[in-house]
């Protein structure tokens, strides 16, 4: 835990003897929970210790990290920032999710060479750094000629984690982290916010601490995974969690069993995770002699380029929609960004609808693998909507499919891997739900957290206090690429600039940028 010196901790009317005698004291009460705006007195009366810090960032993942990076470079001392987090490392959740969805550290992500969450400039880019460490010009040639002569170059997951570790050490990240679970953030009557952190005191005892801050940043990541309704129904009804799995949960046993004996697997989804899962299945066939038959179920099948008009046409083929990254490249800084930024409500949603849709990057390896699979008969695609999934008498699973262009049909398999990657509603996250219910936050046209162009959460201002949010929870706002490395940097820069306008930190101008870049190059601690 971060050192809570006498200077930063204010324990108002806090009676240690009463705290130990009465279990309830020091905890939240129904009255507090039902009151939207809290006063200092309310917390004091409950004996909840209060820690003062100018800015709190909730989450402690890559979203919090990137903001802290900008703010440290903008001159904020570590003592002005508290990172409230259950994570040991900012990249912990990301690493977990990439690993289970078949991207171990040595594999490549779906991220641009200049999207560098541990370097606010994107320079030198990952491709140049890989070229330098591995003494080869190949990555540079790749970024020079992509995506015309070759597919996009993307960094290995391990390179990103190593960079984050280096930058975390450099900016004093570890000094800012306070371990614990955030329960809620509420507006403070006197201005600013209270963020309630539940920390573990050991021996199963927990303790509530209120962080009193002028600014709050929420970067809580995915509220949770959402299963396809038919698969959810199947799992609940038949209590079978082994044959029907989600690609974002550990499912190594599926690959292990398919290596031991021949089997059929249904893969659902047309996104990058489906591509990864298919690669794993094919690699296991090639390298471990697995005899797996793959049935790939698309709900929407693209056999060619598609889109509303000649100026809005995305490539496609063999079922897939092809796109280098999560969004068209200009969503991070070009035409798409500019157009979204000017749109409200239904107009904005309409652009999201055109640009969205599941897609995967065009990669030669994957295309070759699946082409071979089609030729040799162990990979085939089917199109339709699943109506029901049920177990068969011989211990397999049966998928009933309503064909989109033909009759209904059934597909038996040993496993179903759901690679659709649906995300749960933001309300599934307790902090978000509390925010919607008590702090004036609302939803954007896509139903997620409504933020301003500055990433301030609309409706939550508290006197001079401001609350910001970045990441997946804000999808649907004026900026599309929120759930990406570069998007987190985009958000962090806008938040840092907004904070600079309030006088909280310096605006990173040209001179500071160059000076700090040089420090970054020399790995000089700040």
């Amino acid at each position: 835990m971060r050192a809570m010196s006498d200077k930063t901790i204010h324990v108002d009317s806090f009676d240690a003897r009463r705290y130990t005698d009465e279990v309830a004291l020091g905890d939240l009460t129904d009255e507090l929970i039902s009151t939207d705006v809290w006063t200092d007195q309310m917390l004091a009366a409950r004996g909840i210790p209060v820690v003062d810090v100018p800015l709190v960032t909730v989450g402690g993942g890559i979203g919090s990290f990137v903001l802290a990076d900008y703010l440290r470079i903008a001159g904020m001392p570590t003592s002005s920032i508290a990172v409230l987090s259950v994570l040991d490392r900012p990249w912990q959740t990301y690493q977990y999710l990439t690993q289970v969805s078949q991207i171990p550290a040595g594999e490549r992500l779906r991220s641009d060479s200049a999207s560098t969450p541990g370097n606010i400039w994107g320079f030198p880019s990952y491709a140049f750094r890989e070229a330098a460490t591995e003494k080869t010009l190949a990555p540079i040639w790749n970024v020079l000629t992509e995506p015309i002569l070759c597919d996009y170059w993307t960094p290995k997951a391990g390179q990103v984690f190593a960079e984050l570790q280096r930058e975390a050490d450099r900016i004093g990240w570890w000094r800012m982290v306070v371990n614990g679970q955030v329960r809620m953030t509420r507006r403070r009557a006197e201005g600013g916010y209270f963020t309630i952190l539940t920390t573990s005191e050991g021996r199963g005892r927990s303790r509530r601490i209120a962080y009193r801050s002028t600014y709050v940043h929420l970067a809580v990541g995915y509220p949770g995974l959402r299963f396809l309704p038919d698969l959810q129904k199947y799992r609940q009804k038949y209590q079978d969690y082994a044959r029907v799995v989600n690609a974002y949960e550990p499912h190594e046993q599926v690959y292990e069993e398919l290596r031991r004996r021949p089997g059929t697997v249904v893969v659902r989804g047309g996104g990058i995770v489906a591509s990864r899962v298919l690669q794993r299945l094919v690699d296991d066939r090639d390298n471990h002699g697995a005899q797996t038959d793959i049935v790939h179920l698309f709900r929407t099948y693209y056999d060619k380029a598609h889109g509303p008009n000649i100026f809005m046409r995305r490539k496609g083929g063999n079922g897939w929609a092809y796109q280098g990254f999560n969004w068209p490249k200009s969503a991070w800084g070009g035409q798409v960004r500019a157009s979204l930024e000017s749109l409200e409500g239904a107009d904005r949603k309409a652009v999201y609808d055109v640009l969205g849709g599941t897609n995967t990057p065009h990669r030669k390896l994957w295309i070759r693998q699946l082409k071979r699979g089609r030729r040799e008969g162990w990979y085939r695609t089917v199109v339709g909507t699943v109506t029901e999934v049920r177990p068969t008498d011989d211990g397999r699973v049966m998928t009933m499919i309503r064909g989109s262009e033909g009759p209904d049909f059934e597909q038996q398999s040993d496993f179903i891997i759901d690679a659709t990657g649906l995300e749960a509603d933001i309300r599934e996250h307790r902090v978000m739900a509390d925010l919607l219910d008590h702090s004036g936050a609302g939803r954007n046209p896509l139903g997620r957290l409504d933020v301003e162009r500055t990433f301030e959460v609309r409706g939550t201002r508290s006197a001079s206090g401001r609350m910001y949010a970045s990441g997946s929870a804000t999808l649907g706002g004026y900026f599309a690429g929120v759930d990406t490395f570069l998007g987190l940097q985009y958000a962090a820069l806008h938040i840092a600039d907004d904070l600079a306008r309030t006088g909280f930190c310096n605006r990173i101008g040209t001179r500071a940028s160059i000076r700090h870049w040089w420090k970054w190059m020399r790995n000089e601690s700040i």
Partner: protein, 154 residues
């Protein structure tokens, strides 16, 4: 790069006036010349600079009125609305050719001061590459917000 129209125009103007001016200053003395007997390279330097800076001015003007609008139009056919680095490099060929002809047409003519076509190519390629390299990397250090604003500086 993912430029917007005004980002293209602004980036071109600023790059030519900074990196372009500097690169031209550096390369001009090293351009191979067909010198008349008795005329040293140094003597011809003022005329050489007149040529190379005129070329730079033409790149700026043609860029703003012709090339950038054309590139922006072509960009609309791309789903990503991006302008790959390779395009940024290869458009130096068409721009170089047109710049040379315009220079020969309105003058000062490179051939008049003894700059052969190869000399022009060396000048143009050097300046083009200098801007290309700068835009694709160090620019992001000098202007932190540039890449998020479609190349706009204002």
């Amino acid at each position: 790069m993912t430029p917007t129209f005004f980002g293209r125009i602004q980036t071109r103007i600023v790059m030519i006036l900074t990196v372009g001016v500097l690169a031209t200053l550096v390369i001009t003395p090293f351009i191979p010349m067909d010198r008349a007997p008795g005329v040293s390279h140094l003597d011809a330097l003022p005329e050489s600079y007149a040529i190379t800076y005129s070329a730079l001015a033409i790149v700026l003007v043609l860029g703003v009125v012709l090339w950038e609008p054309l590139y922006h139009f072509l960009q609309q056919f791309r789903w990503e609305k991006d302008w790959p680095a390779l395009f940024g490099l290869l458009t130096g060929i068409n721009e170089g050719i047109l710049t040379y002809y315009v220079l020969m047409w309105i003058g000062p003519k490179p051939t008049d001061v003894g700059i052969p076509v190869s000399g022009f190519i060396i000048d143009f390629a050097f300046v083009w590459l200098a801007i290309f390299v700068f835009v694709n990397g160090p620019m992001r250090v000098v202007t932190l917000r540039w890449r998020f604003r479609g190349g706009r500086l204002l």
